[in-house]
Amino acid sequence: MRRSAKLALAALTLAAGVGEATSAGLQDFAAVERGRYLANAADCGSCHTVPGSDHPFSGGRPIETPFGVLVSPNITPDRETGIGAWSDEEFEAAVRNGRRRDGKRLYPAMPFPYFARMTPQDVKDVRAYLSTIEPLRNPVSANHLPFPLNERMAMAVWDKLYFAPGTFKEEPSKSKQWNRGAYLVQGAGHCGACHTPKTFLGGDETSEPLQGYTLQGWVAPDITSGQGPLAQWSAEDLAQYLKAGHNRFAAAAGLMSEVVELSTSKLSDDDVKAMAVYLKDVSGPKSAADSSADARVLTAGGAIYQDLCSACHKPDGTGVPNLIPDLTQAATVNTGDPTTVLRVILQGAQSVATDREPTGPAMPAFGWQLNDAQVAAVATYVRNHWGKAPPVSEDAVRKQRAALDARTN
């Protein structure tokens, strides 16, 4: 029985065109299983699959960066357009060191500075899993960056500034759970790719890890334990959010809904708990300074809130646990940057549906109904009435509206 199963797997991998692969791991069930799990933890499918496509990992998805649009490559085992002809070492060099097979440097849209923290064995297992994917011929034109950014040579400078090779180091003073969480957050999970502030060259502000950043039209809020927006969240709240996409405070939407759907919801309860335990231990900055919003704006915003928002979010802003976000505690509301709040008011948002929380409630758009001053007023009210986030100007709404009109996603 075991023999025939092994033969079948061998036939499959041969058909998949990875006969050249040297690692015994490629035919090892346990390695493939670990690799699948780690590929989920690393959310590979998100960037390397065109949303809605029936061909996972075949690349071609445009990735928006502050410098232009990159297009993700094909990582199926196709020998010519994918990674079928790569050796394990070449794969590991790409994932952990940002080096392509031809020796050229990868753009850090591929989060190799984080994946460097993964163990070589974990990366090899991911490779083992990817070798089982159906190969698809799909040549991808890699990037649409302007000169000089289209010169990969420039990346040498970037790597020097922002890339610190080297594996994850355990913190012996911390628990096993903490270290597991740290490994996942810093490594495969690459949480900092979105949540850590970036320099003007797109490198991590290493002094402010996980303290929030804004990208692709969404706020990735401060997820540290400090006095920031997650201060009221327990480790259980965080774990539940990662697993289900919903908790008593918030609902994942936008880019984070994709992360939950394709990655964190597929992790074990132990692992999301470990990530939460670690995040609760990352110290963060003090909350945003107290802000004083104009009393008249708050009155106007409050009236709009009672008319349009209170039916779902309740008059006191607390919403309905796991269904309607609690505006007094939602991280994307009580944060310095109003990008997400404005986006959700103007455009509406669909929250993620998961096996654990299948409802996937959505908020409708109000941009057609409210003018810029009204949006600014209601946004100021929800950020300021229960929290201390700074007021939102009419001008900020105008700019966000224009930016959203220009967006395709």
């Binding site: 039916a311 779902c312 269904l323 509406g348 409630p361 758009a365």
Partner: protein, 592 residues
């Protein structure tokens, strides 16, 4: 050219309540299921957002959520001797359209029928003698009992998060609930909604008169709820925009808020919207369904082969599709033969509009939800002795005031001009102090030999198929029943202290232009005898055993309740029979 799609295990026609229940149950059993829905897909937040969902003109008056009569309609006549004419604007009922079907726009009044309702003919004959029933009345037993349906009623109530007060738990009568209801296995999943002032006052007056008032069971949430499928609903805000409207607050039970989020995650379920099934295809033997043929929005015709066909459209479309597909023998009222189209019924409702002293009564009638109200059940079914009254049937009566919406909820005393300054003055004086229940008297309509559906000889639809023709009128029994109930109802308003009570009895002839309810029933009824029913007790076609027909079209006659609870319980009952019996041995489940 008709294009043939890959075979599925199950094809479902119509994705409303019963289609969603069947799709979930059969997909859960591991079958590959496709649902085909004539109307569009509808989502809670984006298709009825709170920002504009509360628009009476758009949804109530202009019927946005309903089928457009330009897409298809019916012809109507009162008597067999008349020529039927097409309905060009919906009046007496509203055919639903789109994913969720009637479950989107209903009030969420979630009743169970009485145990005696399911054995009506036997029960009434035993109690009053056969001669007590009118000669042309064609009521029948259902072939299924209340006790058999109880677990399935229970499942639906827990799916929906029904808010209510149990009246009878396993035979123990519960204070504050409906003492006439059949025994239920456990309480409702949620407590009743809070009752507004006028509803509370009605309850008190009814109690003072010796009745046992109780809050109407409601699919509007009294608190946040997570149903057994893991889907969540939020608390109702009492906005008063349920009936005719979709709920954008996730507060009203609908397929969207209870089943579809889980169903659409199933890899063995798929759906096609904006696609109209034009016939159920039979194989060469004519005794098995081969699948269905449908037309998509581009006008392309497709054949969807399937091993099992579930017909779960709105009542009259079920009947029409059976007739057009040549399944079962069409009913002939003259010869009294055939079954398809037989025992078609609707409803006998009426109003009592009451005017109170504005100085003493401020009701705030706009604070309401779809199924909010206090009811009494003393005059429903056979809960009272019909002997002295000379009719059978009945209904619940209640101050079930679902809204105070400004276009239609403008009651003025009789004699007020219909427009102008006098009318405006009267509206202003009475708006806060007049009561106009939604369906105050919600009465049964029993079946008769000359009330039925067949195919119209003249009028055709866009596919050149004959329209369904309704022949319907009220009989003396229903008129008497309605007068009796309306008078009893009015007495309670008088006891509340109304200064003027205006009774609006239901009268013959049946008026197709005046709204009653969307509760059309019958036409493809269930029963024990293939000569008088289209379906067996499991809702399986007697003629085509791989066809099951859901919905109120299976009711042999209409009881005095809103039908959705029973419609859904029957769907769960049928799904259970398919899963536990049919799949093991696909054939006739009952040998008759």
């Amino acid at each position: 050219m008709v294009r043939k799609l890959p075979r599925k295990d199950v094809v479902i026609i119509g994705l409303g309540w019963t289609g969603s229940i069947m799709a979930y149950e059969l997909a859960d059993a591991g079958l590959d299921v496709i649902a085909i829905e004539r109307g569009p897909w509808r989502n809670t937040a984006t298709d009825y957002p709170p920002g504009y969902a509360a628009d009476e003109l758009r949804y109530r008056i202009r019927h946005e959520l309903f089928l457009s009569p330009s897409q298809t309609t019916f012809t109507f006549r009162n008597k067999m001797s008349q020529t039927a004419l097409p309905i060009r604007s919906w009046g007496a009922f509203m055919p639903p359209n789109g994913v969720g079907g009637g479950g989107v726009h209903w009030n969420a009044e979630t009743w169970r029928f009485l145990p005696s309702d399911f054995v009506l003919k036997t029960h009434l004959t035993e109690r009053y003698g056969a001669s007590f029933l009118p000669e042309d009345m064609t009521i029948q037993d259902w072939g299924v009992t209340y006790d058999e349906l109880e677990p399935h009623y229970d499942r639906f109530e827990y799916l929906c998060g029904t808010s209510g007060q149990a009246g009878n738990i396993k035979g123990t009568i519960m204070e504050g609930g409906n003492p006439f209801e059949g025994p239920r296995s456990r309480p409702y999943p949620n407590p009743p909604q809070d009752q507004p002032f006028s509803h509370t006052l009605f309850g008190k007056a009814a109690r003072d008169l010796g009745y046992k008032p109780f809050p109407q069971p409601s699919g509007n949430m009294s608190r946040p709820y997570q149903n057994p499928l893991g889907v969540r609903l939020g608390p109702c805000t009492y906005c008063g925009f349920c009936e005719w409207f979709g709920c954008g607050n996730y507060s009203k039970a609908s397929p969207q808020t209870t089943i579809l989020p889980v169903l659409v995650r199933k890899p063995n379920f798929s759906a096609r919207d904006n696609s109209e099934v034009v016939r159920i295809d039979l194989d060469s033997s004519g005794k098995r369904a081969a699948g269905v043929t449908f037309v998509d929005a581009a006008g392309e015709e497709w054949e969807q082969p399937a091993d099992l066909v579930v017909l779960s459209a709105y009542t009259i479309f079920n009947v029409q599709l059976l007739l057009l597909s040549g399944i079962g023998k069409a009913y002939d009222p003259a010869a009294n033969t055939g079954v398809i189209g037989r025992n078609f019924t609707h409803q006998t409702t009426s109003d009592v509009v009451s005017f109170f002293d504005p100085a003493k009564f401020v009701f705030n009638p706009f604070i309401a939800s779809g199924a909010i109200g206090m009811c009494i059940d003393e005059f429903n079914g056979d809960n009272f002795d019909h002997g002295p009254h000379g009719f059978v049937g009945g209904g619940y009566v209640g101050q079930v005031q679902t809204n105070g919406r400004p276009i239609e909820t403008t009651p003025v005393p009789e004699g007020t001009p219909l427009w102008g300054a006098q009318w405006k003055k009267a509206v202003k004086e009475n708006y806060q102090s007049a009561l106009k229940p939604g369906t105050g008297v919600h009465g049964s309509m029993y079946s008769y030999r000359d009330v039925y559906v067949d195919l119209d000889p003249t009028y055709k639809d866009r596919f050149n198929r004959p329209l369904a023709r309704i022949t319907m009128d009220f009989h003396d029994n229903e008129i008497k029943q309605n007068k009796f109930l309306t008078d009893k109802f009015a007495e309670i308003f008088q006891a509340m202290g109304a200064k003027h009570v205006q009774k609006e009895y239901r009268k013959a002839p049946y008026d197709i232009t005046k709204y009653q309810t969307t509760h059309l029933c019958g036409g493809a009824i269930m029963g024990s005898d293939p000569n008088t029913s289209a379906l067996n007790r499991y809702l399986q076609s007697w003629d085509v055993p791989n066809l099951f027909v859901m919905g109120a079209s299976a009711f042999p006659q209409n009881a005095g309740y809103n039908p959705t609870g029973t419609v859904a319980a029957l769907a769960y009952w049928a799904a259970d029979a398919i899963r536990s019996k049919y799949l093991k041995n696909p054939g006739q489940l009952i040998n008759a």
